[in-house]
């Protein structure tokens, strides 16, 4: 992997990527949890740009701030200071209801595990965000079935999560994240509960599927193998981005 080490506060930006309305831009993010006295910040001034359609891995030891960064970028929590620009708006200034709508309409999420409802078959799990957004069940199912097929889940739509393997369940979760045609997919340790081989296959499909849907991908991971699947890797320590690596043409 070609090492282009940079240190914030200048925004980390992929060289050669033109600016786009669908870029996710963070500027000077600082975040403290609870009382600030005697505790270091979870984010200590992070600035970055994630270009439209780009896949970025965020790595770092436990406590480095990578999950906090993901939560702030996705509008799940408001930072103590700083801004996150998305499609012309600073999402940190939005009210809770607006940020909820933003997550429903613009973002998708993939977690390590425990996100599929056990009572619903795979295709209804995948279609759930669309139905929650007001789309009829028939239309939502018709929309997600090709996505499930594209992820290698043909014929498994009627199975419940308990009847799927770990890798299959994660692919259903990926389908669910992509169902709403999001601009950005956020993934937190998406292969953490899978064996290495399955995890590698799932990660490859996650990157390919998000690219095919024109979405950006932000993956929080501690696994270098997962990071290698992404075009760019940001390394965090003590709430700061301390290094940035680009994947070369050989995929290293």
């Amino acid at each position: 992997m070609r090492d282009t080490t940079t240190v914030t506060p200048t925004p980390a930006r992929s060289p050669g990527w033109p600016l786009s309305h669908d870029d996710l831009v963070a500027d000077g993010l600082v975040h403290h949890y609870g009382s600030t006295a005697g505790q270091g910040p979870a984010l200590a001034g992070v600035s970055l740009r994630i270009a439209a359609g780009e896949s970025v891995a965020v790595m770092g030891p436990s406590g480095s701030g990578k999950t906090t960064l993901l939560h702030v970028l996705a509008g799940i929590i408001r930072p103590t200071s700083g801004s996150v620009g998305w499609r012309g708006r600073d999402i940190t200034g939005l009210r809770d209801r607006e940020r909820t709508a933003l997550r429903r309409n613009d973002f998708g999420f993939v977690f390590q595990s425990g996100q599929l409802l056990p009572e619903l078959p795979a295709e209804e799990n995948a279609a759930l965000p669309l139905m929650l957004g007001g789309i009829s069940r028939a239309a939502a199912l018709a929309h997600v079935r090709p996505i499930l097929d594209g992820l290698g889940l043909q014929g498994l739509g009627a199975r419940r999560p308990g009847e799927l393997s770990g890798g299959q369940a994660q692919r259903v979760a990926i389908a669910r994240a992509l169902a709403g045609s999001p601009g950005v997919v956020f993934a937190d340790e998406p292969t953490g509960a899978l064996d290495q081989q399955t995890g590698g296959a799932v990660m490859a499909q996650l990157v390919a599927a998000t690219r095919a849907h024109g979405a950006s991908l932000v993956v929080v991971t501690h696994d270098p193998g997962v990071a290698r699947a992404c075009e760019r890797t940001l390394v965090m320590r003590d709430g700061l981005v301390v290094a940035e690596h680009l994947r070369d043409e050989a995929g290293r």
Partner: protein
Amino acid sequence: MSTLRLWWLVRRHETRDSRPTTWLPVIAFGVATASLLVAVSGLLAFDGRRTGGLSDGPGPADPAALYTVLAALAVGLMAVPILTLGGLAARLSVSRRNRRLAQLRLAGATSGQVGLFTLAETSLQAGVGAVGGTAAYLALIPALSRIPFLGGHLGTDELWVGPLAVAAVVAAVVLLAAVSGLVSLAAVAVTPLGVAGRVSPARLSILRVLATLVALVGWVAVSGGMGQVGIGVMCAMLVIAVGSINLIGPWAMMLFGHVVAGLARRPAMLLAARRIVDDPRSAWRTTSTMGLGVLLATLATVTDGIATSPEDDLPYLGQDMATGALITLAIVSVIAATAAGVVQAARVLDQAPQYRALAYAGTDLGTLHWARTLEVALPLAVTIALTLGFSLLLFASASSFIGAGMLLRFVAAVGLSVGLLFVGLLASRGLLRDAARLG
């Protein structure tokens, strides 16, 4: 390490998240104990007034003897929901500890230690709940003594069951909790990795419907021969006929769930229907006590109508049966509300990761609350419809005594009971808010 030391080690570090798994079962055991003591106190009070039997030579039967039989019938009818509530509480207590138990086994605890640990925890919760339930029963005695029976009132000394009966009820609740806890522990496939499979549920057999029809035909035959059969046989047949609704109830839930799931267009309805299909027995258990409430409300309405009939020899019988039915309805409604609260709380705790994932994906809390409300309302609608049909069938011969005023009281009684059940549901709103909290 001894099991006692292991238990103390785990209990010391109980987090805020795991506290509902402690106080919810305690409340449920308390309600079960108080309900049982109130029911038994009525039975013993009437039994204490008996001077003769149901048929004591020429002349009228001893009213207190008849009342004793009816009170025993009420206790019999309440036994199932009380046992169900105790079982639900024990299951909640055990299932929330599954992950912890799996972790203990990974750390080297033996399966015997884990079993003993579960037994100790559940029994302790039942014991604490039973003591609280006993205190509630004692506090209710003055109010119960004001209720008119047999043209007067039952005295507070008559309603005091005595220390032996209290000890027996407390012991029974603790035993129920221990047995239910161990059965629940055996039923859940807890491996060292704490994995439990969730596969498509097997369909319930139509034999349930056939068995229920046989029980109903039996009741119609026996009730039609009133006067030729003893009241003991009549009551036994009534209990069997009423009990058979627990056979057809889950089957009806399963059918209803499949139909609604097929027709549902919106996610809240779909989710509620799928959950019914996933576990129709649980859906029935959550609301079946309410069904018993409908039956009792019908009984109260019908018997009050009988009291105004000139054919009535015992002047207070109809009125007292109506009063007794309403008291039983009140007890059953509290049990139903507690059971609904326990089941819903257990479900929220069980599916906290899924609720959090839905919140991350932009699902607002209102939608999640609505889905949970439908999850109770849909089975409740099935239960009320089913038991209303049962009630009309069971008491068809007495329907001519029912007037408009009684029907209004019936609607009010059922309405209040249903309202209480949804109050039970409200108790877990805070849990859902916590489960869906982000960041």
